[in-house]
């Protein structure tokens, strides 16, 4: 397939591209879902093709095709050049790229057990038993369990001479217990919501999840929630578990720091950012306790790779240091705007899409203490666990999140269970109120495999290392 990518680059150059790169790729998936000990879905997919990106007269063009015959690749390359030329219809500054050393390399993420070779019978048996255990809880309506596996193989070539082969592999699994009654529905998920815990790993990750061991607890919690009171509406101290912190980081830090968003390139879709290009080193984003790192070399992260889709080697970049904003996520096109070179965050949703700035693994640096210790140190407040819902405005500043369950914290102990909890805030105020960040013991690398961005819409697979944390004066129970 590297030959396909090289052929595409040659065709694009022959058609008039000043610069060209191509990604030939294959995406493979396998997904299993069991509901109440019945198979709700089992499927595999495979998708192969090539995407060709060109720069002509300082303007981008991109075209992709699933057909890999030489004639079709040439047609697609010529089309990419025509698209770039058409973009010259309007005036504008020509694209200039930060330099990158053309790499000739091969990279594959660590993996012990290929999930695609694990017998289907074993996977089905795991999910059946997990749902059986959940169903043993009286009052539970639906017990669901699922596994998802994803492998992306990419062959990248550029007119600068890069030639990179790369394979990423992701494995995930989770359970979901749903209790329905009296016009209400409550849900508990394990280890996290939206298909569980997905990591850059092989099937060995699935074996560590404890889907069967935790099944009854999750089922019981869903049933208990049906009889719980609504989360009260008040301004209070809020403690979030690691799983909810994942999405809090994703939406209110990960997206605002994308430099293409800051520069207005996403304005018409999900919007811009409250940050400006001159904010590096000047804006206090959070309290002193909050340090955020973008690390594409993090073990287990969905944003871990050897090279991004522009051929830039994976890096670790400090984003927020002791509360002060320091760096954006950048691409070769955007980095020169802030006087830098790319920090390797340009990735595409497979061969058929143009690379965009995407989060890698955007993680909060662990500090001290366990979740239990943070709760024990809290006199009065609310503890929320596991995301159900998220919404953020077009500057990525006003957010509202919903969680599966919450408890009142009184004198360091969890007391009343609440259902339907949610909270809202403005990003810099909220992060500025953070006065506790948990330590390494409860720091988990979570996967977000469904991050939407771009037009046409692309789905990004990104990671977040997250500890539990505490925030003061937060509005909870929004109605």
């Amino acid at each position: 397939m590297l030959d396909v990518a090289k052929m595409a680059v040659e065709a694009a150059t022959a058609a008039g591209a000043d610069l060209a790169d191509a990604r030939a790729g294959t995406d493979e998936t396998e997904s299993l879902t069991v509901r109440n000990q019945e198979m709700a879905g089992i499927d595999r997919s495979i998708s192969t093709g090539v995407g060709i990106r060109v720069l002509v007269g300082g303007r981008w063009g991109f075209a992709s095709t699933s057909r890999l015959e030489a004639e079709e690749i040439t047609r697609t390359a010529v089309l990419a050049v025509e698209i770039a030329k058409a973009a010259q219809r309007l005036p504008g500054e020509p694209v200039t790229l930060s330099p990158v050393e053309p790499a000739v390399a091969s990279w594959q993420g660590p993996m012990q057990e290929d999930p695609f070779t694990v017998p289907l019978e074993e996977k089905v048996a795991l999910l059946m038993e997990a749902t059986r255990r959940m169903q043993s809880v009286e009052g539970l309506t639906f017990a669901e369990a699922g596994l998802d596996f994803f492998r992306r193989s990419t062959w990248f070539a550029s007119s600068d001479g890069a030639a990179i082969e790369q394979v990423v592999l992701h494995s995930g699994g989770g359970t979901e217990a749903i209790a329905v009654g009296d016009g209400d529905m409550q849900r508990r998920s394990y280890p996290n919501s939206f298909r569980g815990h997905i990591k850059a790993a092989g099937y060995e990750h699935i074996r560590t999840l404890g889907l069967i061991e935790e099944a009854e607890r999750i089922g019981q919690e869903a049933v208990d929630l049906l009889n719980a009171p609504e989360c009260p509406s008040e301004v209070t101290t809020l403690v979030l578990d690691s799983g909810q912190m994942e999405l809090q980081i994703h939406e209110s830090i990960g997206h605002p720091i994308e430099l293409d968003r800051v520069l207005g390139m996403e304005e018409a879709y999900a919007g811009g950012s409250w940050l400006t290009p001159g904010d590096r080193g000047k804006v206090r984003y959070a309290s002193d306790l909050v340090s955020i790192t973008a690390d594409a070399t993090l073990a287990g992260g969905l944003g871990t790779f050897g090279f991004d889709d522009e051929g830039v080697p994976a890096q670790s970049t400090p984003i927020i240091v002791d509360g002060v904003f320091e760096n954006f996520l950048t691409s070769r096109e955007t980095a020169p705007v802030v006087g830098q070179t790319s920090n390797a965050t340009s990735r595409a949703d497979g061969w058929s899409h143009l690379p965009l700035i995407r989060m890698t693994n955007i993680s909060i640096e662990p500090r001290e203490g366990t979740l239990a210790e943070i709760i024990g140190d809290t006199d009065d407040g609310i503890f929320m666990s596991t995301n159900t819902s998220w919404s953020i405005d077009d500057k990525r500043i006003n957010f509202q999140f919903g969680c599966e369950m919450a408890w009142r914290i009184e004198h360091g102990k969890l007391t009343t269970l609440y259902k339907n909890p949610n909270y809202t805030g403005l990003a810099p105020e909220f992060w500025g109120s953070c006065d506790a960040v948990g330590g390494r013991e409860d720091w988990v690398v979570w996967g977000t495999p469904n991050c939407g961005k771009g037009q046409p819409g692309q789905v990004g697979r990104v990671g977040h290392g997250a500890s539990p944390a505490r925030f003061r004066n937060v509005q909870v129970g929004v109605r």
């Binding site: 198979m39 709700a40 879905g41 089992i42 499927d43 595999r44 495979i46 998708s47 192969t48 093709g49 303007r59 981008w60 063009g61 991109f62 075209a63 992709s64 095709t65 699933s66 025509e82 698209i83 770039a84 058409a86 973009a87 219809r89 309007l90 005036p91 504008g92 500054e93 289907l120 089905v124 059946m128 749903i178 329905v180 016009g183 209400d184 529905m185 520069l263 390139m265 996403e266 304005e267 018409a268 879709y269 919007g271 058929s352 143009l354 819902s389 919404s391 405005d393 500057k395 500043i397 006003n398 509202q400 339907n420 949610n422 809202t424 403005l426 046409p456 819409g457 929004v478 109605r479």
Partner: protein, 449 residues
């Protein structure tokens, strides 16, 4: 430009899978799509793309056991390999006790939704239209957005003998104009044909909104009467479909309509239906199980009538499929992709005139579900939010966060617009909805811009 494979071209590919031996049934779903998108920001074209892809999704049934495999190798050999892979999966899993069988032979509605001009739209044509749109920008403002043209063909064949195929096209222009003093305006249009799209008109609408929304004032959160333009209404109706109209959630008491059949759930001014055969909507006239799409009246005069069904949920409910199946496997169940909301006799101007103090909303942004049973969602206003006082739009206000039950809003709907517009909240779906006047709408917070 790519060409349609056509029903005749699809047939030999499908037959290669349908010949699979040792199973009870095989279904082949074929998708072929291509198109281009010219994306612009800061009044420059910055990301222009074109893509073509095919897909085969093969569902194999053996003794009620079902496996599915997908590939984009659209050849007889690719179809055979996918069928074999699906068979391997079907042999391992347990039987589905509610397996309804594959879609029976049935004629599908004939609709003409394929326009050559859209299928063959060139990057030059889109760039020219984008230039027209950007030319409407007032000084100090820039435009961002996208002009997309897509063509697709969908085919389905199964061992029951059902064979159907339909091509279609769609085109859309979306823009946000923003600039000095915080002004921001939005406009969009969807159509099957590029011939009916005038990008300059879209630009002028967005520009007017942007100019009018400069220097927004902060307004307290609270419950207000609102005038919702069609793009905002499309968000409400799209999410109502998600939390309510699917037969699976309805049957499982997880829908906001569960237990409410024949009950008043909205104001008598509200009627909503789904009709994939209506010429005014987009997509194929049959679903992804090969079942003809039927008109389903969901809410009539404010009364909930029924949900939509696929083959499996239809069997569970004891009714035929309404033609709302999604590609298999589909644990979420059926979904309405072609929604319509009945029009009334008011204009947006009438609604404003009838408002003592309220808010005019151009669109919502980034909505998500808060409580599905209560049809409660949250989200933001964006790109044109205005204060109405004494029957006039008096000025822009900062964006609100809303937390609101959709059925609650529809229950206080007092006026319905006389014109409906095609809009899209979710990929692959379209809804044709009018503007609404809602008497009680809960803005739960205010943003900083």
């Amino acid at each position: 430009m790519p060409e349609l494979l056509g029903a005749d071209g699809f047939a030999p590919v499908a037959d290669a899978a349908l010949e699979l031996s040792g199973v009870d049934g095989v279904e082949v779903l074929f998708l072929h799509e291509w198109g281009g998108l010219t994306r612009f920001a800061k009044s420059e074209i910055h990301q222009s793309t074109n893509r073509e892809d095919t897909g085969l999704r093969v569902r194999v049934v053996s003794k009620g056991r079902v496996g599915v495999a997908a590939t984009n190798e659209c050849t007889p050999e690719g179809a055979r390999k996918a069928a074999q892979s699906a068979k391997e999966m079907a042999e391992i899993v347990g039987p589905d006790p509610l397996w309804p069988g594959l879609g029976p032979v049935a004629p599908t509605p004939q609709v003409d939704r394929f326009f050559e001009g859209t299928a063959n739209a060139s990057p030059e044509m889109r760039a020219e239209a984008v230039a027209d749109l950007i030319g409407t920008c007032a000084p100090g403002f820039t435009a961002a957005g996208a002009y997309e043209t897509m063509a697709m063909e969908v085919g389905l064949a199964n061992t029951e003998g059902q064979r159907c195929w339909a091509p279609s096209t769609q085109a859309s222009v979306t823009t946000v104009m923003s600039g000095s003093e915080g002004g921001s305006g939005f406009a969009e249009t969807f159509s099957g044909s590029v011939e009916t799209i005038d990008a300059g008109v879209i630009g002028r609408r967005a520009n007017d909104k942007a100019l009018g929304s400069r220097s927004p004032k902060a307004l307290d959160a609270g419950v207000y009467p609102v005038v919702l333009e069609p793009a905002a209404v499309a968000t409400l109706i799209g999410f109502l479909a998600w939390v309510g109209f699917g037969g699976k959630g309805y049957l499982e008491d997880r829908s906001c309509f569960s237990g409410k059949k024949d009950q008043q759930v909205a104001a008598p001014t509200v009627s909503i239906w789904d009709d994939g055969a209506d010429p005014r909507t987009l997509g194929a006239p049959f679903d992804f199980e090969g079942v003809p799409k039927r008109r389903v009246d969901l809410i009539r005069d404010g009364v909930f009538l029924d949900a939509v069904y696929d083959l499996r949920t239809g069997k569970e409910a004891g009714v035929p499929s309404t033609g709302h199946g999604l590609p298999s496997p589909n644990p979420e169940g059926p979904f309405p992709l072609n929604l319509f909301m009945d029009t009334g006799d008011a204009t947006v101007e009438d609604m404003v005139k009838g408002t003592e103090r309220g808010v005019l909303v151009t669109r919502f942004h980034y909505a998500n579900i808060v409580n599905p049973i209560e049809s409660s969602i949250t989200g933001m206003t964006r790109d044109g939010t205005f204060l109405i006082e004494r029957g006039e739009v008096v000025g822009p206000v900062r964006n609100f966060r809303f937390t609101q039950s959709i059925l609650g809003a529809l229950s206080t709907t007092s006026m319905v617009g006389r014109q409906a517009e095609l809009a899209s909240e979710f990929f692959f779906s379209a809804s044709r909805v009018p503007a609404l006047k809602v008497e009680e709408f809960n803005f739960s917070g205010v943003s900083d811009h």
